[in-house]
């Protein structure tokens, strides 16, 4: 099990989870969605390649009205 933080909440995932798995828990649409892991943006093209590990701080962001 991998223990990490997603959007500020503690979450447990299967070992070998990738960013794309996490995104999939929130939305099916990549458009309007961004991911940062430990303060670095992970580009959409690399979601399937990048795996997460214990203690990672993952932020999954989506569009809202604003500004």
């Amino acid at each position: 099990m991998t223990r990490l933080w997603i959007n500020g909440s503690a979450v447990e995932l299967d070992d070998d989870a990738h960013v794309s798995d996490i995104v999939g828990r929130f939305t099916v649409s990549p458009r309007g969605t961004a991911v940062a892991v430990n303060g670095e943006v992970v580009p959409r093209s690399r979601w399937s390649d990048v795996s997460v590990k214990d203690g990672d701080r993952v932020e999954v962001l989506g569009a809202i009205g604003g500004g």
Partner: protein, 256 residues
């Protein structure tokens, strides 16, 4: 009159840019956007809420607005730069409305941090539209840093106070060659007209429309206001005088 707004080489026929915050519903927002005629609308990034009903993105796509992501809520250059990069990935656009605020109560820009972020983002290939205060020096520094537009405020975000210092805006207009977009503080239609009469190239507003009693009606008001102000600026107004200047001639007055 063919008089497009051109930012970073892209042309727009509307000079009203809509913020999308503060609407009571996506439906109300959509009606207001349509009524506004805006071709550009801002959007923000927040932690995704899987239970949110509908998406502002669908609304904006349906209306056909170009997305202008913002960095609202960032207090440092570092946060703003990171947010801008996330937005570029999410919305597939290099355009960014750069906000770096200095204080939660006034939401006024921290111009030193703003300038740092602008420099970094311009280097990184972004088209930076910088939300700034009404300080002409800050506007000139942002332009020099390569911003595609400077967006001075009229008054604090959501305050509805209009343009507190038209003189500063006039100086910014004279001193900057990039587009000047009045961003923040608009309360009602006359504020938007005044911004355009002062020489702004466009107006960006959100609360004035989204939080009005009838958002769609106010959006239509703003559309016409921006057009009226642009026309009036170019039509060349009459001078101000203390005394009167007769519009009906005295010549030929009968002796009755």
């Amino acid at each position: 009159m063919d008089d497009p707004l051109v930012i970073a080489g892209e042309s727009f026929s509307s000079r009203l840019i809509m913020g999308t915050g503060g609407a009571s519903s996506l439906d109300a927002l959509e009606r207001a956007l349509v009524a506004s005629g805006a071709e550009i609308a801002t959007v923000a990034l927040r932690r995704i809420d899987p239970d949110a009903p509908g998406s502002v993105l669908e609304v904006l796509d349906r209306v056909g607005c170009k997305l202008l992501p913002n960095t609202a809520g960032c207090f440092t250059a570092k946060d703003a730069v990171l947010t801008a990069r996330a937005a570029r990935d999410a919305f597939e656009t290099d355009w960014i409305k750069l906000e770096v605020i200095g204080d939660e109560d006034t939401l006024l820009p921290d111009t030193a941090e703003l300038l740092k972020a602008a420099e970094e983002l311009v280097d990184d290939g972004f088209v930076v539209l910088a939300y700034t205060n009404d300080d002409p020096i800050a506007a000139m520094r942002l332009q020099d840093a390569g911003c595609a537009a400077v967006m001075p405020l009229g008054s604090p975000i959501g305050s509805g106070m209009g343009i507190r210092n038209p003189y500063n805006l006039a100086i910014i207009r004279e001193r900057c060659s990039v587009p000047v977009v009045l961003d923040a503080g608009i309360g009602t239609a006359s504020d938007a007209v005044l911004a355009m009469e002062l020489g702004c190239d466009a107006v960006l507003l959100a609360s004035a429309v989204t939080r009005a009693h009838d958002p769609a009606a106010m959006a239509e008001a703003m559309k016409r206001a921006v057009e009226a102000g642009r026309l009036a600026r170019h039509a060349g107004r009459i001078p101000r005088r203390l005394y009167a200047e007769a519009s009906t001639p005295f010549e030929g007055l009968p002796e009755l």
